[in-house]
């Protein structure tokens, strides 16, 4: 029998598929978005939309407010996150694990939730409205605080990574040279973390200006670009003008991502393989001060979440505090009912599964199948680009692209599939970077060793790369799940009437004045995400235990 000699060129096959996918679901929709921003009412090419928007009196205010919001959030979030990160990584204060957990908690919630909590606390019917004096929480102060809480965990993750990579030898040396603690802090700690700090600043900035949830809830008259897009599209049905604002919002986020990538690369380059781990010594004064500061920070965060949970289970916050589960009858409100939660879980789980497979497969192909250098660089550029596109801009681009009846892909418009693809594309970048670093940790000769034995790259991928990267894969899946559960911006223009989503339901119920059920559903999202994290941790523990077990029967060779 002659065995077929067909051997698929794995590199071109895979990268071709990915190239096609990215062209179709990223480049083409964004291209159309740009084109639509330049399309006049008569269908001709024109700059009239930009002129119209630029002449509108509110625009300048929107631009200024967006910039204020971005910079203000950075100024508030990054120092606070640095303080907590420093306490966790560089001190011996008690409860560091609890602080780390609570500091990251807002990651599990839609960005709306902190904003809603602020309204509960300081709004017209807020618990502490007297604190506001004659002022109102709606507008700049509330928005700034809401974004600070929402972006805090993102900065915390980056800064913890930057601070955890300390080289113990440098501190020993500084100690020998007689440098004091402050001297060591300014001469060693800050410079080593500076790229991480810069990176955190840009991430916080672009998250804050691209968010639509918090401005919708607590923004008041403080218009920002993201909310302008939302209003133009859903309020005025003016897609072309929405496209104009989306393009305007794109410019700063693209810049921010470029700078962030530069800083993150420099930060990674400061790590040397020969570094010895740094163990902080106990210091009562320092640890005590840090403990007080960090406790204040996490109590604020925990308090915010607690307020939402409390408001969800009382009759009428804050007047009638008797206990009730009425607000959990989501069916009674205009949000989508419990189905919305189920839909979100389904979407998030699918995004996690398909997204993880796609991102890791693509990263593997680009790193390990030795494609042309140009192909690899192009892939890497495409994989990094989604981070620069605000969810609203991508969502609007998809709405324009797939809603066009001429488009053969019109069939997926208004279906689950377009939501799935939008989520995978929007959250592509971070999992891509995680995949790349997991793959770079693999021995570069695995594929060669397999090739010598006539085993193809698919076998190496399945039997070696995937098992060895299982921790990274679980982390990626969790990231995708949590983000797909919480995002509003990507899906708000795309979800069909018969497939409502939990995060959007929070927005809509709050908008309709049903604040308590909105808070209840927001908390549901947190709990689902928390369960997902627990599940992920259990999977990791199981994998580690299986890895450690030595009792592999010899018969197992049949499996490889």
């Amino acid at each position: 029998m002659i065995r077929p000699r067909f051997r698929p060129r794995a590199d071109w096959l895979t990268l071709g598929l990915y190239g096609g996918f990215l062209l179709l679901f990223f480049v083409a929709p964004l291209g159309l978005l740009a084109a639509r921003s330049l399309t006049g009412a008569d269908g001709g090419l024109t700059l009239a939309n930009y002129a119209e928007y630029l002449h509108a009196p509110d625009l300048f205010a929107s631009l200024r407010n967006t910039a204020l919001l971005g910079f203000g959030t950075v100024l508030l979030t990054v120092p606070l996150a640095f303080l907590l990160a420093y306490g966790i990584e560089r001190s011996r204060m008690p409860l560091r694990g609890v602080f780390a957990l609570l500091g990251a908690a807002p990651l599990l919630a839609p960005s709306l939730l902190p904003a809603m909590a602020l309204v509960y606390l300081f709004g017209q019917q807020g618990l502490f409205r007297s604190v506001m004096g004659g002022g109102t929480i709606y507008g700049a102060p509330g928005l700034l605080l809401a974004e600070t809480i929402a972006t805090f965990p993102h900065a915390l993750v980056i800064l913890r990574t930057a601070l955890s990579a300390a080289d113990g030898r440098l501190y020993e040396q500084a100690n020998l040279l007689g440098a004091g603690r402050w001297r060591a802090f300014f001469a060693l700690t800050l410079p080593a973390a500076r790229h991480g700090i810069v990176s955190a600043c840009f991430v916080v900035f672009s998250l804050a200006i691209a968010d639509v949830g918090a401005p919708k809830v607590v923004g008041g008259n403080f218009d920002v670009l993201a909310l302008d897009i939302y209003k133009q599209v859903l309020g005025q049905q003016n897609f072309n003008l929405g496209a104009v604002v989306a393009i305007l919002l794109l410019a700063p986020t693209v810049l921010a991502v470029l700078f962030e990538r530069w800083a993150a690369k420099r930060q990674a380059a400061t790590r040397t393989a020969r570094a010895t781990p740094f163990t902080p010594d106990g210091n009562f004064g320092r640890d005590g001060t840090l403990f007080v500061c960090c406790t204040t920070i996490v109590l604020c965060i925990a308090g915010i979440l607690l307020v939402c949970q409390l408001a969800a289970v009382v009759k009428l916050w804050p007047y009638d505090l008797s206990w009730t589960l009425d607000h959990y009858r989501f069916g009674d409100f205009d949000g989508g009912g419990w189905d919305a939660v189920a839909n979100s879980v389904l979407l998030a789980a699918t995004t996690a599964l398909i997204g993880t497979a796609m991102v890791f497969g693509g990263a593997y192909a680009s790193e390990r199948l030795r494609p042309l250098r140009a192909v690899r660089m192009l892939y890497s550029a495409f994989a990094l680009a989604p981070a620069a596109v605000p969810g609203l801009a991508l969502g609007l681009a998809y709405a324009l692209f797939f809603n066009d009846p001429i488009n053969p892909l019109h069939v997926i418009y208004g279906t689950f599939w377009v939501l799935l693809i939008a989520n995978v594309v929007h959250f592509f970048t971070v999992p891509h970077l995680t995949s790349i670093s997991a793959i770079k940790a693999l021995d570069p000769e695995y594929e060669s060793a397999a090739a010598m034995s006539g085993r193809g790259v698919f076998t190496v991928f399945r039997a070696v790369a995937v098992p060895l990267s299982s921790a990274a894969l679980v982390e990626i899946a969790l990231y995708l799940f949590v983000n797909a559960m919480t995002t509003v911006s990507v899906v708000v223009f795309l979800y069909p009437p018969d497939f409502k989503l939990a995060a959007v339901a929070v927005l809509n119920m709050d908008d309709a004045g049903d604040a308590a059920p909105a808070a209840a559903m927001g908390m549901m999202i947190i709990y689902v995400n928390f369960l997902a994290r627990l599940f992920g941790a259990a999977v990791l523990r199981y994998l580690r235990r299986r890895e450690a077990s030595r009792d592999v029967p010899l018969a197992d060779i049949a499996a490889v």
Partner: protein, 355 residues
């Protein structure tokens, strides 16, 4: 072993590799006869690993061919060439046991029972039967290397390719494993090509050595021949320690070393040409006694090497020290400031300095 009597087993013909403007490998031609152990040696970046990967089929050459017994292998996939390879990192899969790593190479062609039997056989061959269920991180460096060899041998290759197989090991055990490797190769009689940057290792292990530099082959021959009759200053200096002393050609029979010492050396270089006189440190004759046929030198430093002492001698007016190895019992081995240096013409090889 008389190599010439046997037929060429693997023929490497004019192998070249270019990356754009960079030439990594330039016309490598080398024949291996059945059962011999050839070392490809050279400084890092000389193209030796590139050559090995092309021979294995892991990279495509931009010129030349690889043939075996008249059959052209150049276009064949790595697994179709009858070659086994051990990688510098060993590339063992950390998630698999030693047995699974070996079984991986057997592919799916055989049934489970055959595979099992073959794996046991290979583990026995490298004397690691009791480690079958260990994962690589539970094995020592030497054991990992043997598993990698067993995996490379799994498909009964006719050629074994080794890419710096000893460089990842501690110096203390490197010598022992070098001997084990050599004896395993002898026992199996498998034609072997090994890449190494360590010339001492190559001298100790190889039947023949191929010296490479900057993508080109400089010299091929048995270790003794490479050591005693290097064809150019590079090979002379790369393999073993070597003094390369500036010299001037006086006539067809005479050269003057270090502008002073006349030596009777037959040569074909033009009169007045600049040359390099190469002499091994062990052939440099040093004594405390002065004489007319000798260079006066100061002993700048002594390096105790265990079995001998290496003297660093500075001849007046020259910055480059002359190395001389003397026995521990030598008069100058322990003390003394001044020495005279004599060079015997029969131990000197002369190279043109123009190249």
């Amino acid at each position: 072993m008389s190599s010439t009597a046997r037929a060429t087993h693997l023929a490497i013909e004019g192998l070249g590799k270019r990356y754009g403007a960079i030439t990594a490998l330039d016309g490598l031609t080398l024949d291996l006869v059945e059962g011999e152990f050839v070392c490809l040696v050279g400084p890092s970046g000389c193209g030796k690993t590139t050559a090995l990967r092309i021979i294995a089929g892991l990279d495509k050459p931009t010129a030349g061919r690889v043939r075996s017994n008249g059959r052209d292998l150049t276009a064949l996939a790595p697994a179709e060439r009858g070659m086994g390879m051990v990688f510098q990192s060993y590339a063992l899969f950390p998630n698999m046991t030693a047995a699974q790593n070996i079984a991986f190479a057997l592919g799916r062609e055989r049934n489970a029972k055959d595979r099992q039997a073959r794996v046991s056989e290979l583990l026995e061959l490298v004397d690691l039967s009791q480690f079958a269920r260990k994962r690589p991180n539970e094995l020592s460096g030497g054991q990992q290397q043997r598993i990698a060899i067993a995996r490379a041998l799994a498909r009964e290759p006719r050629f074994l390719l080794l890419d710096e197989p000893l460089s990842a090991l501690d110096p203390q055990i490197r010598g022992r494993l070098r001997n084990e490797l050599k004896s395993l190769q002898r026992r199996l009689g498998i034609t072997t090509l090994m890449v190494t940057h360590d010339q001492a290792e190559a001298l100790a292990i190889a039947d023949r050595i191929a010296v490479m530099r900057a993508g080109r082959l400089h010299q091929v021959g048995p270790p003794r021949e490479i050591y005693s009759t290097p064809v150019d200053p590079f090979t002379a200096a790369f393999v073993g320690a070597m003094n390369l002393l500036p010299a001037t050609v006086e006539d067809a029979q005479t050269v003057r070393v270090l502008a002073r010492l006349p030596l009777r050396l037959n040569n074909e270089l033009p009169k007045g040409a600049k040359a390099l006189a190469a002499i091994r440190p062990e052939f440099v004759d040093v004594s405390p006694v002065t004489g007319p046929d000798a260079l006066a030198a100061r002993i700048a430093d002594r390096e105790f090497q265990g079995a001998f002492v290496r003297l660093l001698l500075l001849v007046d007016g020259f910055e480059q020290p002359i190395l001389a190895d003397v026995g521990n019992a030598h008069a100058l081995a322990g003390h003394g400031e001044r020495a005279t240096v004599r060079i015997a013409a029969e131990h000197v090889r002369l190279f043109s300095a123009d190249r």
